[in-house]
Subunit: 108 residues, 2 copies
């Protein structure tokens, strides 16, 4: 009978989600882009403690995963903005749930 | 006008959630306890790659944060089980959202 009573990880998806979003800054970066596009320097100001190279690295990773879109407006002046793709937007309900849970249940 | 157009991190709660749940194994451990209590050895079998000392360490951290409860049934035989507290259970909807999002949107 044992196998059916064994616990199992929620599934591999959850582990993937935490591996990816838990990676320093990724989750917070996506959270920061909820609701509006932002420029690199706006993101830098919004995310306390992130360095230019780290922000650049993480934006590249999020773009590679298809969650963030980089748009260049040739201007002048040239303006580069970052926004969530539909895959990134699909994360919003989970981010809201998580933030609300943490506010209520995680010791500060 | 700038301040009102600045993006901001979803809020400090989200950053705390990712700092905590993103810490290797914490999120997955909580996910594994969803729906049923488990013994140490059941958890060890369910979470591929975790060592005894890491599992013990993480269970201690989750208990310290009030998310996991350790129950000792004096028996005989003595049985020690771990289960989610109500604060831990409150995380379930967010975990489900996250797992579902990852299944649909995160490249494997």
């Amino acid at each position: 009978m044992k196998p059916e009573h064994e616990p199992h990880t929620c599934d591999a998806s959850l582990a993937r989600a935490f591996d990816f979003l838990g990676k320093r800054w990724n989750g917070v970066l996506l959270g920061t882009l909820v609701g509006r596009p932002a420029t690199f320097s706006e993101l830098k100001r919004a995310i306390v403690g992130i360095s230019d190279s780290m922000l650049s690295d993480r934006l590249g990773e999020l773009r590679g995963a298809g969650l963030v879109l980089r748009t260049v407006d040739e201007g002048p002046p040239v303006a580069v903005t970052y926004q969530l793709t539909s895959a990134g937007l699909a994360l919003v309900p989970a981010l809201r749930e998580l933030a609300s849970w943490a506010a209520d249940n995680l010791p500060a």
